[in-house]
């Protein structure tokens, strides 16, 4: 970990850039298997996620997208009965190693859920919470700056700057989702995971989030699970198609949606799945 404690790193763009070069792999998954008790939900999946790119995970309901996504920040640890096998390397380090602190890991790999889940606190504290517990801010002024910067990046600042003390839950659904994204990026993650982040939003709020994803792409590795093929096509550069816990096809998003190689992918994206 190299979160530079005690310095106003958030205000210096060069420090918030991911450390690896363009196109490099941020996460490398090898032979991932996930079990819920006896039932296997993910079958030997190997794939990597490049920096500064959006990877979309698509596939029919129950195929294991959320399960696989949760492997990337060890959220499956919190599910009783769930067992993950295989290696997930970040910066050459296996995140499942015993000496990796899952709380720290989750600040490096932020997550945004289907239903916006702001803390029952003020808008300000929703953002300030993470930087505070991770010691990323040097005093109140610094914290203010982090809150503003994060809200600006999430495209929410103009809408909330005069009501920072209002509860996060007083915002609209789309605003809450952007608040959650602001909260995720406030702790300087390297990776942002999103599980159907727009499924409860109208087309305008969805467009705002998609614009935000496109903007965040220049500095993060983003993985998004979506049921909307059109959304996957709009926001991602790479698309992975899952079926029955298997990774069926992974490719350039353009190729997946105009000329998939696998019949199962073709059937799914064209609405022929039986």
């Amino acid at each position: 970990m190299d979160t530079t404690q005690g310095t106003p790193a958030m205000m210096d763009d060069t420090l918030t850039l991911p450390r690896s070069a363009d196109g490099a792999q941020r996460i490398d998954c090898r032979n991932i298997k996930v079990f819920y008790g006896q039932a296997q939900a993910i079958h030997d999946v190997s794939m990597s996620f490049p920096d500064r790119a959006v990877t979309a995970l698509i596939g029919p309901s129950g195929c294991g997208k959320s399960t696989f996504l949760r492997c990337l920040n060890r959220m499956n640890d919190t599910i009783e009965n769930c067992r993950v096998e295989g290696e997930i390397l970040m910066d050459g380090e296996n995140i499942n190693d015993e000496d990796v602190d899952p709380v720290l890991l989750r600040s490096r790999v932020g997550m945004v859920f289907q239903k916006p889940n702001p803390f029952p606190k003020s808008i300000y504290d929703n953002i300030a919470y993470g930087p505070r517990i991770h010691g990323l801010a040097n005093g109140r002024e610094d914290l203010d700056a982090i809150v503003e910067k994060s809200l600006r990046r999430a495209g929410l600042w103009e809408e909330v700057k005069d009501r920072l003390t209002a509860p996060g839950t007083s915002l609209s659904g789309g605003q809450q989702q952007r608040l959650c994204i602001a909260r995720a990026i406030a702790v300087q993650p390297e990776v942002i995971l999103m599980d159907e982040p727009c499924s409860a939003l109208d087309p305008i709020a969805t467009a705002r989030i998609e614009e935000l994803i496109d903007d965040l792409r220049s500095r993060y590795c983003i993985v998004i699970v979506t049921h909307s093929m059109q959304q996957a096509a709009r926001v991602s550069q790479r698309t992975a198609f899952f079926h029955l816990g298997n990774l069926v096809e992974l490719g350039d998003t353009n190729q997946i949606f105009t000329n998939p190689r696998e019949k199962r992918t073709e059937d799914y994206i064209t609405g022929r799945f039986g």
Partner: protein, 228 residues
């Protein structure tokens, strides 16, 4: 190809491809009948071919409306997307072919008495491989065969060669008897129209190939001959 879960979507795609085939059938008979009118000097048939072009235009604009609606309502992906885009291109190629055949029929009505049978035959002879190209490419479309499409695409040189020889043959008739110049000019245009129809057939072959395979027939593979 198995059916969509939404069966109305499959029906819409089938209707679109049936309309493309209908256009292809009409364009094909327009070529055959315009040259038949020419060889038999059948002015009535020539007039009828000219009228048939209107039908082609109507089906084309209807196909275009179907395509816009499909894209807006179904948001096609994968093979469906390629099929719809190809249908849009192919229908406009067929519409152009119809225009060119119509033009041959119009010119067939304007020929004067100085035309001889050899001149008529030269055009009729050239029309054979051209309508065969169209027939083959429509077959490739109907059977979704990239191999057949590629064959059509590779055979365009034959038509170009044919055109060059008809062009030279026509010139000798004109040199022999300058009174043939007006009719001869019409017939040179007919030959050129047939040659253009051949080009449209190779375009269609490219779209069929793209639709089925998802890749482009590279222009590099085909040796290009000199053109007049």
């Amino acid at each position: 190809m198995s059916d969509h879960i939404v069966s109305a979507y499959s029906e819409e795609l089938e209707r679109l491809s049936a309309d493309i085939m209908k256009m292809g059938g009409i364009a094909e008979t327009m070529i055959v009948d315009s040259t038949r009118a020419l060889s038999a000097n059948d002015l009535e048939l020539a007039r009828e071919v000219v009228l048939r072009d209107l039908l082609l235009d109507v089906i084309e604009s209807d196909a275009e409306r179907q395509i816009v609606s499909l894209i807006a309502r179904r948001q096609p992906m994968g093979h469906d997307l390629r099929m719809i885009l190809s249908a849009m291109k192919i229908s406009s190629e067929l519409e152009r072919i119809g225009d060119l055949a119509k033009n041959i029929a119009k010119r067939a009505q304007r020929l004067d008495d100085n035309v001889n049978d050899e001149m008529r035959n030269a055009i009729v002879r050239m029309s054979k491989p051209v309508s065969r190209q169209l027939n083959n490419v429509l077959n490739a479309y109907a059977s979704a065969s990239p191999e057949k499409a590629k064959l059509v695409w590779e055979s365009d040189d034959d038509i170009d060669n044919h055109y060059n020889s008809v062009f030279r043959e026509m010139l000798t008739y004109l040199v022999e008897d300058p009174r043939r110049i007006t009719a001869g000019a019409h017939m040179l245009f007919m030959a050129k129209n047939l040659e253009r129809i051949g080009d449209h057939c190779t375009n269609i072959a490219e779209f069929v190939y793209y639709q089925v395979v998802g890749d482009y027939l590279s222009e590099l593979e085909r040796p290009k001959q000199d053109q007049v």
